[in-house]
Amino acid sequence: MDNRIVCRCMDVTVEDIMKAIEEGYTDIESIKRVTGLGRGPCQGKTCVPLAIGIIARATGKSPEEVGYITPRPPVKPVFFELLADEEVEE
């Protein structure tokens, strides 16, 4: 078990990313989709820079080519009751 954590929220390890690269995923958006990287409550704040470095070194791409992922709303945790509350029509 690899104990080097890249994405804390989603428990993605260095090994998980290397495996995805071996499978042919070499940009960060695809790696996000196959590993779950950056999809947790913090939306990639700690893991993205680490992942960019790992992917760039493993693939020979420049960080610019590796790309970045779009943090999705809500970028900060919001109570469900605030978002899901039903409007009562008058």
Binding site: M1, R4, T46, Y68, E87
Partner: protein
Amino acid sequence: MIDLRIHEHPILKFDRGRELRFIFEGKEMKGYESETIAAALYASGLKEFMHSFKLNRPRGIFCAIGVCASCAMRVNGVPNIRTCIAPLKEGTIVERQERRGEFPTNTVKKETKKEELETDITVIGGGPAGLSAAIYAAKYGAKVVLIDKAPKLGGQLIKQTHKFFGSRKHDAGVRGIDIAEKLIKEVLDNKNITVLTKTSAFGYYEPMTIGAASNERSTLYKIKTKKIIMATGAAEKSLIFENNDLPGVYGAGAAQTLMNVYGVKPGDNLIMVGAGNVGVIVAYQLLQAGVNVKMIVEAMPKIGAYFVHAAKVRRMGVPILTRHSIKRAYGDGKVEGATIVQLDDKWQPIPGTERDVEVDGIAISVGLRPTYGILDQAGVKLKFVPELGGHVALRNKNLETSVKGIYIAGDVAGIEEASTAIMEGRIAGLSAAIDMGLAGDDAVELREKVREELKDLRAGPFGERIRKGLEKVEVL
């Protein structure tokens, strides 16, 4: 009973306010009204705050400012509360949760509010850049809404106890905490500025609308705005090593928040990873807080921090080991030590040079990375610029991005200092007011003056890297 609260400090006085009682896993605990739930628990010696959702690994405080969610707990029956930014209240019931946490139990349906605000300018982030932007836009009559997720304004300035460098006219020699107080007072006294603290801006929606929420006040905000100034700052970078998620491994900024904002010692014996300005300054502040800093390790062949700062910690007996890095953290459920290793000229660990250092905390200071989330959602063009810390927005010299009406200031525009963040905030605030037609020639003239001052701050050899980075993005 363990109490990690600092009672004597050479610079800070901790006014903790009223003593409060709360319940942690059935046990009555003591805390203070100025503390967050996490600060009170940490002060009592708790390290293991949660377990990770897939691998069930122990986690603890890592960022201490509501970025990472490694301190998520069940509070009054509601799971996934970031306890590091949740103010402690009398009688609060706190429990650890497993993984994602069970659904809320026995909760009475709360009254939730939806508020729609209309404003001229929305400033996201209440640090030095955001505060300055709000002040300078409001100066010319702009209606400003200022949003910050933290309970208190000031961003990371509220933990900067050191005196600032720079030229005499830019608060050189003044402590960050005092600059913060001044800016916060100006903002709170200004009738044109509506301040929403404990409020997270969570998304951008067309056209020019910000979604924000205050879980604290059970309120969802829809903010329709003419201009947006993004002053969202940055998050601390991390490092890859074995057990880099063990409780007791945290950002240097997190250590600084615990000790300088809440008066809680992050540990007894620490190792600092990274000898840039942040690492060395925080190491000094740890010593002031009564923490033993065993050593600072730095992967580079030389120390990145200003000479005076490095000399000061060395004089206090802290060795700085260059060409050294951390290989692993070890311990049962919490940090009990770090294995360090020497690096060769190609940054590779030299076999046989590993050695264990007994510590209960590992502070990481390997730089910061701009928080661009909402900018990206709005379609702002970003570029990877290592000199500025990572992905940053392209901008013109008025700090407007590729999306008309969206401006940037502070660390989100490129990692720099609080002094430059203040200048950028002023420029962005002035630009927004000018572009709305609220401010005339005098504001344009003032902006020119601020721009000159900013140029002064970036002059000289220390500004070289920043100047090089800015050349790549100041292209609009």
